[in-house]
């Protein structure tokens, strides 16, 4: 039902009257971003992104026969997103007859490097990880590379040549654009946005620069300011600071959160500060919390995180390595979607964006 709602809605939001763009991936998406300018362009793009995506992005099948029985280590950071990623990895691995072992990576640099070193010393055939810069465990990456064990990561900017594939990397720039499209379209070109970043998540910087580019294109007169807040303040003083900023800058009417987790306690803080009604916010990653907030009308929109598609892509990258093929196809742009009140199906959990993602991958894998 969500799918139909989403697509139905997208056509109606599209006030420019033009044809609805299909929510696809890759070059077509980039072209659409390029081609549509001004507020109307933003509205078209928003309509596109609120619709349900139909393709997983990867089109090239694996040529060789993917071996089964591989043993994969999943480096689990333990937070909600990582747990969801782990589930997706397991699902994908099962399709190929692989086993996955969760490895707790812990929080302090020593724990992280310790966990990686144990994996490097273990008998794994491949490693999948998310979000951690490899400077903390460069020695383990070296060891794995020497042993010929491929590593697929997502959600991180890293240039360590020992890492076989960083999936979803090409998805980050358009994700930054998604923020801008929503803000520009939703405000009808009258947004004054506060961008909330945190240096603790380096990927946010890329999102921000793409957000800025997008705003230049779709809302050249809109103002953007930004603040940076340590991640340690999530849920404690971060919401207080954001709310106070909004109060002290009465012109601000949009907030863009570099990560959806920053919304913890934010609706209440905005309420407490008496500014809940004059400001809307958007964030990226659509944690269940955010989906619920969007449904409750507390959050304006949330950019979906294609957790399933991306972890299937990571498995895809390992599969290609095992049969000796290039991982290039696995690095394709992932599907994109913006959740609004009207296109959320189940707010209690992460969901795949492409309804038949599994079948599409199985086809690529010859299953």
């Amino acid at each position: 039902p969500a799918d139909s709602k989403g697509s139905g809605d997208s056509s109606s939001t599209s006030s420019s009257g033009g044809d609805a763009l299909p929510n696809t991936t890759g070059q077509k998406t980039l072209d659409a971003i390029e081609a549509n300018t001004g507020v109307d362009g933003a509205k078209k793009l928003l309509a596109m992104w609120t619709a349900t995506p139909t393709t997983i992005g990867i089109t090239e099948p694996v040529k060789g026969k993917i071996p089964s029985g591989k043993k994969i280590a999943f480096m689990n950071c333990g937070v909600e997103v990582c747990i969801a990623l782990g589930k997706a990895v397991k699902e994908a691995a099962t399709v190929l007859g692989w086993t996955v072992e969760d490895v707790n990576v812990g929080a302090s640099p020593d724990e992280i490097s310790g966990a990686w070193n144990r994996v490097a010393a273990g008998d794994y055939d491949g490693v999948i990880a998310s979000g951690l810069p490899s400077v903390l465990f460069a020695d383990a990456v070296d060891k794995l590379k020497k042993k010929g064990v491929p590593i697929a990561e997502c959600c991180v900017a890293d240039d360590n040549p020992g890492i076989t594939a960083i999936v979803g990397d090409s998805t980050v720039p358009p994700t930054g654009k998604q923020y801008a499209a929503w803000v520009a379209a939703d405000s009808d070109g009258k947004a004054n946005t506060l961008w909330v970043g945190s240096a603790d998540f380096p990927i946010i910087a890329t999102l921000k620069s793409n957000f800025d580019e997008g705003m230049k294109s779709w809302c050249p007169d809109c103002k953007v300011a930004d603040i940076d807040i340590p991640a340690a303040e999530i849920g404690t003083t971060m919401p207080t600071k954001i709310a106070a900023y909004v109060r002290s800058h009465p012109d601000v009417n949009y907030i863009a959160l570099g990560y959806d987790g920053f919304a913890t306690g934010l609706p209440q803080a905005l309420q407490d500060a008496g500014v809940a009604d004059k400001v809307k916010f958007i964030g990226d990653d659509a944690l269940p919390m955010n989906k619920q907030m969007v449904m409750d009308g507390q959050q304006g929109a949330s950019i979906a995180f294609p957790i399933y598609e991306e972890m299937y892509a990571a498995v895809d990258a390992l599969a290609r390595t095992f049969v000796g093929e290039s991982v290039e196809p696995s690095l394709s742009m992932m599907p994109l979607q913006i959740y609004t009140k009207d296109n959320i199906n189940d707010p209690s959990k992460f969901e795949p964006l492409v309804p038949d993602y599994k079948e599409q991958f199985m086809k690529l894998w010859g299953k």
Partner: protein, 352 residues
Amino acid sequence: MTTLTIDRRAEWKRRLSFSNLSVVYILVALVVFFGVWKTDLFLTYDTFSGMLNQNAIQALMALSLIMALSSGVFDLSIGYVMSLTSMLTAYLVSPQYGNLLPSSAIAIALAVALLAGVVNAIVVVIFKIDSFIGTLATGSIFYSAAVYVTDNVPISVGTSTIRSLGSWNVASLGAPVFVVAVVMVVLWYLMGHTPTGRAVYATGLGPEAARLAGIRTKRIQFTSLLVSALVAGVAGVLATAKFSQGSAGVGAPYLIQAFAAVFLGATLFRGSLFNAVGTVIAVIMLGTITVGLALAGVVQQWVPYAFQGLILISALGLGGLRRRPKAPTAAEVEPAPSAEVPAQPDGVPTHV
């Protein structure tokens, strides 16, 4: 009559002195400072109510420590007790899991908080393990329990009516503010104006002397640990209601500020005794720094930390709390079997 007047005057002078009220004066100075800097923004009811709403749960966490610290035990587990009850409450009311009425869920969550308090009390009072390290250990266990519920995945309360508790308010003041007010008044009365409260202080300040005076110090420490867990449990329930979700990570961030506020609050009013009113004022003072700077548009990340550090040092240095009401261990009350008399025979000298 004259002497009486003079005494009164001296008494008032002492009461109003900077060293007795440093935190209050600093709070006033902050309000004036930010009030002058950003008058329209800062001196509004919104700022006031927002400040109270924003700091209510922090205040509750700080208040949870008062009895335990006064009776001479650290409770470092409160953050995790809060996490545990937050998770549990969410789990129990969530349509996806427990689907219970909020009232039943809250009752169960608070019962579990009490149970956590019992565990703490057994470890500290019965096993006589030093409270500092003992509650670090139990905290680890409570956190483990909180993580266990859904493997560390936060739980949304979904459509549960507990949301109405989270959004309920009077004159923009939410439920947690009123809970804080009640807990503060109860603690103020109990600690300052009942024999029980005085016995709690005596237990912390001079465990052996207290026992010689017939005070059941073990029972007092036991109860104090129940109270700290229970109040932290209430904070967990309120957090779940307020944020519409429970999470295992929710409690820990409150711990350090809670200690800072309680110690800071002890500089107020009662000559270095931990007290409820001082604690709440300290929480508000610390909260004012955050909000004031943010309203003033100070966005540099390092500023609030430096500010808070410097203000703390000024308040403590200029104010009263040079000597921490010492928080010895339960063992000092009922010494380990090998040395039944505490190491320090008595705080009071025997002779000139």
